[in-house]
Amino acid sequence: MASSSSTYNPPCAACKFLRRKCTAGCIFSGYFPPEEPQKFANVHKIFGASNVAKLLNDLLPHQRDDAVQSLAYEAEARVRDPVYGCVGAISFLQRQVDRLQKELDAANADLIRLAAASSPSVHMPPPPPHQRPAEFGRRFGNDGGGGGRFYQTPGYQITYNASPWADIYNPHGGGFDGNI
C-alpha cells in the first residue's frame, strides 16, 4: 500500500539544481519555481546559493520576493556582461539624465528669454507642474523594516545627482566610458 501524500510539492529549481531534497522549510521554494531553472542557475553562478540564502534569511518574508527579483536581474546582467553587469545600464541611464538636464536647461533659458521679450499683456500660461518623487521614495522605502542593516531612502530631487559609480570607476570625476 503506497503512501500517497495529499499534497505534493514539486522540488524548487534550487533543490533540483543542487540535487537535494526540497523540504517544506526550503528558503528557495516559492521564489525559484521549477519552471524557471535558468533563473537560479544564474543566481547561483554569480552570487552562490549560500550567500543568497543568508541574504533572504536576513529579510522579512514580504521583502524576499523583491530581493529575489533584483538578484535574478543582476545575475542575468552579469552573465551577459561579465565586465560591467547591471552597472552598464546604470551608466547609460546616467548619461541620459545628464543629456535631458542639459536640454531642459537650454529650453528654460529660451523660455525665460521669450517671456521677457513678450508684452506684459500677453496671457502667461501656467508653469509646468513640478512633481516630487515622493511616491518613488515611498515605494522603495521599505528597506528599513527588517533586521540587519537597513537604510532609509534618501530624498531624491528632480535635479541630477552624480552616482558614486562614477567616483569608484574614475577618481578624477570623469564619466563611465569604458568599453570591452
Binding site: L59, E74, V87, Q96, L114, P128, F136, G148
Partner: protein, 311 residues
C-alpha cells in the same frame, strides 16, 4: 596571525580571511588594507570564490573595470538590501521620465510664446496695411473733391468694403455727372418699385397740411423741412411726386378759382378756400392760391381807390 607579504601589509581580503597574503594574491591590488568595509560587502554578496572565478575569465585590462563594477554593485546592495542596484536603475528611470515630461511642458510653452509673437507680428502688419489703404483712399477722396482726380469710370464698387459708406453718400450725384447712367436707371427703377410707398407718403403730407389751418405758412415750412430729412434715394421720386400732384390738382385749382369772387375779403376767401379743399393740394398749389387771393385783394383795393368813380 597573518603573515605579511613582502611588499608590506596584508590586503583586506587576506586579513579578513586571516591567511597569508602572497605576492600572487589576486585580490590584493583591488582591496587595500585600509578599506576593509569594501571587501566585506563584496564578500557578503559574491564570495571570494565567485570573484576569483569571474576574474579568471577576463583579460588583465578588463579586470580593473570589472572589479570596480563589482565593488559598486556590492556597495549598492549594502545600501539597499532588498533592491540593490535595481533601486538606482528605477530611480534613474523615474528621473528620466520626469525630465522628459518637464521638457515637453517647456517646449509647449515655447511654442505658445512663439505663436503669440507671430500673431502680434501679423496684427501689426495688417494694421499697417489698413493704415496705408485708408491714407490712399483719403488722398483720392481729397483729390476727387478738389476736382483734380478724374472720377472712376466704373460704378462705385461694392467690393470696396472699406469705402462703401462714403460712396453711398456720393453715388446719386456721381451718376448725374458722368456717363454712369446705370446708377440713375437703378435709382429710377427703385423709384418705380417704391412708387406706391411714395404716393402714400405724399398723401400723408397733404393730410397734415389740411390739419394746420391757422399757421398756413409755418405748416408749409414744416412740411418742407420734413421732406428734406428723408433719404437721398427718395428725393428724386419725391420731386416727381410733387410734379404729378401739381399736374393732378391743376384742374381742381381751375375749378376752385372759378368760384372765387374777387370782391370778397381775404378772410372770406380763405374760409371758402379751406372748405373746398377736400383733397387739399400740395404746398405749391396753396402758395398759388394765396397769391391769387392777394392779387384779387389788390385789384379790389385798386378798384376802390380808382379814379373811375362807381357812380
Amino acid at each position: 596571525m597573518t603573515i605579511k607579504s613582502g611588499t608590506g601589509q596584508a590586503c583586506a581580503a587576506c586579513k579578513y580571511q586571516r591567511r597569508r597574503c602572497t605576492p600572487e594574491c589576486l585580490l590584493a591590488p583591488f582591496f587595500p588594507a585600509d578599506q576593509p568595509k569594501m571587501f566585506q560587502n563584496v564578500h557578503r554578496l559574491f564570495g571570494v570564490k565567485n570573484i576569483q572565478n569571474l576574474l579568471k575569465e577576463l583579460r588583465p585590462d578588463q579586470k580593473v573595470t570589472a572589479m570596480k563594477s563589482i565593488k559598486f554593485h556590492a556597495l549598492q546592495r549594502d545600501k539597499y538590501p532588498v533592491h540593490g542596484c535595481l533601486f538606482e536603475i528605477r530611480h534613474l528611470n523615474y528621473q528620466i521620465q520626469m525630465a522628459e515630461d518637464e521638457l515637453q511642458a517647456v517646449l509647449q510653452q515655447l511654442a505658445y510664446y512663439r505663436q503669440q509673437q507671430q500673431q502680434q507680428q501679423q496684427q501689426q502688419q495688417q494694421q499697417q496695411q489698413q493704415q496705408q489703404q485708408i491714407a490712399a483712399t483719403e488722398d483720392y477722396m481729397s483729390e476727387l473733391q478738389l476736382g483734380v482726380a478724374p472720377p472712376r469710370n466704373a460704378p462705385f464698387s461694392l467690393e470696396d468694403n472699406n469705402v462703401v459708406p462714403q460712396y453711398n453718400c456720393v453715388a446719386p450725384q456721381a451718376s448725374y455727372s458722368n456717363s454712369g447712367n446705370v446708377d440713375y436707371s437703378i435709382n429710377y427703377l427703385d423709384f418705380k418699385e417704391n412708387n406706391n410707398v411714395v404716393n402714400s407718403f405724399c398723401e400723408q403730407q397733404q393730410h397734415q397740411q389740411e390739419q394746420q389751418q391757422q399757421t398756413y405758412s409755418n405748416s408749409n415750412d414744416n412740411n418742407t423741412s420734413s421732406m428734406v430729412v428723408h433719404p437721398a434715394h427718395l428725393i428724386v421720386p419725391q420731386a416727381l411726386c410733387v410734379q404729378q400732384e401739381i399736374g393732378q390738382d391743376y384742374n381742381e385749382m381751375h375749378s376752385f378759382f372759378d368760384c372765387v369772387d374777387d370782391t370778397q375779403s381775404y378772410i372770406g376767401s380763405k374760409e371758402a378756400c379751406d372748405s373746398s379743399l377736400d383733397s387739399s393740394p400740395s404746398k405749391d398749389t396753396r402758395q398759388l392760391v394765396h397769391e391769387e387771393m392777394a392779387e384779387n385783394e389788390l385789384k379790389s383795393a385798386a378798384a376802390f381807390f380808382s379814379l373811375t368813380s362807381v357812380n
